[in-house]
């Protein structure tokens, strides 16, 4: 037992196109510890661990496991060595149940399908860790938190002695995080090493024995529990950035006390939406959003937030109820007409739903506005001069880093893409902004920029409906928070009543 380090990554370099994702990174994790990997979005945490897991191949560098140099070309190799990884986005087969998912890829008995036997084995591992979940339900019907448990068991079933968790708390609420922590502690006791990727300082402080901080693809430092302080971690994570952050590594913004409008800008009355197979839809939801407030909707992904966002801009999805904007019903309007009523929207998945990837910034800014009078000639031809003007204004107002409005939007960074999407929402006068996970995956400066824009809209008397799965964020910027669980509204909290634990429990139906 001369070697106390289980994992050593030496001088890892990884380049994507022209971007250096990892620059000469050296990383070690000791046996039987929970080792944090901290850094803001885009720092290179996932990339580093995907290299260890064999999903990416490094341009340079060496990997040592138990002091022995190893070659990892694919997950097949890493699993054989005893590495398991739980990815941020579920990697289960949605059509398969838990057992089927767990036995995938195991080397023995390739031409048999011993489900019963495997089921027993899986149960045993579950009991040892104190985890429970249904084994015979298609995983597409399970919430994100449960899927994560299945992925942990899947890794252990394959004999993992090193478990990598990539941002495991994204879709967990406070109490679930505690439970996860307990299970991880139980694992560590049995000799498993855990690498815990996160961008939240608080989580590191609460769970890790030591932490390595990455910034812009470089290791800043590795420190042990005894030396961990919030200030130190903040400094390592952000270094030169002059910014105030919370314990969740989110920017602090001021929410000045202002008077909200007398009449609500938007009234949602008893709406119902039929859910598709995975979700139960929306049941009898009512709330109001006033001018001069940010109304947050907190929801663990898959609890109806998607349906709510869609129904707000596409009321044809409503099976019951009504939505009023500025006193007028929008129930029978098309999406484009809803936009023309002063509603704007920024979608959850900015790449999939937010942008025309190969289109120019100009074409992107026009999206959703292309039937407005201002952008049309003779009601038939697009007025491209106006579109250019609007695009240039967006680029200027939102500090989009680009040489020209003609550039293809896919060539922008994620943060700049989100700025264009946000700017597009304000091309025409907007009374109600509906924004869904507006900051996910962005670096802290962009998050601060987006926060400020939302607050500015609010301060100018606009109404903002912010649907978000990150409760920490909502607690910073919201005037009120409504909780959505299982398609039902579980309560609305005033800013003075915000309580992370309490709201978190409601979010999972507790």
């Amino acid at each position: 037992m001369e070697n106390k380090n289980l994992v050593e990554l030496k001088n890892i370099r990884k380049v994507f196109g022209k971007v250096i994702a990892l620059d000469n990174v050296t990383f070690t994790a000791a046996k039987g510890e929970i080792h944090g990997l901290l850094g803001e979005n885009g720092a290179g945490k996932s990339t580093l661990m995907n290299i260890l897991y064999g999903l990416y191949s490094p341009n340079k560098g060496e990997i040592y496991i138990d002091g022995k140099k190893v070659r990892i070309d694919s997950p097949f190799d890493s699993i054989k060595i005893g590495i398991g990884m739980v990815h941020q986005i579920s990697t289960l087969v949605p059509e398969f149940n838990a057992v089927e998912n767990i036995i995938l890829g195991t080397p023995k008995d390739k031409f048999k399908l011993p489900i019963k036997e495997e089921r027993r084995k899986v149960k045993k591992i579950m009991e040892e860790l104190g985890l429970t979940f249904p084994l015979d339900v298609k995983t597409k019907e399970l919430p994100a938190g449960v899927k994560q448990k299945i992925e942990i068991i899947r890794a252990l079933h394959k004999g993992a002695k090193l478990l990598i968790l990539d941002e495991p708390t994204t879709s967990l609420v406070e109490s679930e995080f505690r439970q996860l922590l307990k299970s991880l502690r139980a694992l560590v006791k049995k000799g498993v090493t855990v690498i815990f990727i996160t961008h939240k300082i608080k989580e590191i402080m609460e769970s890790c024995d030591s932490v390595t901080v990455l910034r812009r693809g470089k290791v800043q430092d590795t420190i042990d529990k005894e030396q961990m302080t919030k200030e130190k971690l903040v400094k390592l994570m952000f270094m030169e950035k002059d910014i105030k952050v919370t314990e969740s590594a989110l920017p602090k913004v001021e929410l000045p006390a202002i008077k909200r409008s007398k009449k609500p800008v938007c009234i949602v009355k008893n709406i119902e939406v039929k859910g598709k197979e995975k979700s139960k839809g929306l049941k009898n939801i009512s709330f109001e959003v006033y001018g001069g407030e940010i109304f947050g909707v907190a929801s663990v992904s898959g609890n109806g937030e998607k349906e709510l966002a869609s129904a707000m801009i596409n009321p044809s999805l409503l099976s019951n109820g009504d939505i009023l904007v500025n006193g007028e019903s929008i129930k029978h309007l098309s999406t484009l007409s809803v936009f023309n009523k002063g509603v704007a929207y920024t979608p959850e998945d900015r790449i999939k739903e937010g942008i025309l990837n190969d289109g120019s910034i100009k074409e992107n800014v026009l999206l959703g506005h292309h039937t407005e009078k201002r952008f049309l000639e003779k009601n038939l031809f697009i007025n491209w001069n106006e579109a250019t003007k609007a695009a240039r204004k967006t680029i200027k107002d939102y500090n989009v880093a680009t040489p020209s409005e003609e550039l293809a939007i896919r060539r922008l960074s994620g943060g700049n893409i989100q700025k264009v999407i946000m700017g597009r929402a304000f091309v025409s006068p907007t009374d109600l902004l509906i924004t869904h996970n507006p900051t996910s995956g962005l670096d802290v400066l962009t998050v601060e920029f987006i926060f400020n824009k939302l607050v500015e809209t609010r301060n100018n008397g606009g109404a903002v409906l912010c649907i978000n799965e990150d409760l920490d964020e909502l607690m910073i910027i919201s005037d009120r928070i409504a909780v959505l669980h299982n398609g039902e509204l579980k309560g609305i909290f005033q800013r003075s009543e915000f309580n992370k634990y309490k709201i978190g429990l409601l979010m999972i139906g507790g």
């Binding site: 054989k80 990697t91 289960l92 949605p94 398969f96 036995i103 995938l104 890829g105 048999k112």
Partner: protein, 304 residues
Amino acid sequence: MTAITSFISQTMVYATVYTLTSLGIIIGGRTGIFNVSAEGILLASASGGFLTAYLTGSWLVGFIAGALIGMAFGFILAFVHETFKVNQFILGIILVIFGSGLSDLLYKIIVGVRLSAPQAPHVPAVTIPFLSKIPIISGILNQDVIIYFMYFAVIISYWFYYKTKVGLETRAIGENPKAADVVGVNVKRRRYLATIIGSALIGVAGAYLPIAITGTYSPDISAGRGFMAIGIAIFASWKPQRAILGGFLFAGIEVIAFQLKLISANIPYQFFLMLPFISVLIIMMIFKKQIEFPASVGKPYSRE
């Protein structure tokens, strides 16, 4: 009685073409490769398989040639897609065009224009003692080797997908290639294998057309069956056990349409010949709700 027997045996013959072709498409699709090129493979292996059988005098060698041609197409599809990430549908369509050009070119070069078309060697029938003598049943049982091969292929694929772990993994690739990749399944290799094996089956179906059905090669011999087989694969929700159902259904329609054409005097025969094509669309309209797709079919997969 003979009419029924001949209807049954004719249906079985065409069902073999449909089922093998759609099974080939399904096998590719289960790993995410949507093999649109089936029509091209049918044509190329019809021509190549026929010519080989004709030149060697052996039906078996003809079928082997058909399968090999199919495998070559499958390899090109998998290679170009996996290496360059070229859109599968574009590739498939180019391969259809390629196959249709190649089939006529081969025939023209090797046989040229002749007054009487050369004939392929006969495919032996499997006769089962006693049973083969009973009417109707004899029509069902007294069939050539390739029909039995088709049954065998369907059963084996069913067993593979639903009774083995490799099969489970292979289905996983079709649903979510990343899920298979992260548990150590070699997605690329499986995609190559599946596309090549699937295309080999389509190749056998292609060779079957001239060797067993018409006895000789003619241009456009596949007559759109490669595309109808895509319809069957979709109708079957990419399940082998349902592909054979679809195969028999479409074959039945084709044979009935042909028989009706001979019987009816009032309605122009062209409208009967339209039946199979129209019924593909109608059947897909009717079964719209029941159809399931492997989620990744037609989509490229890469890790980064």
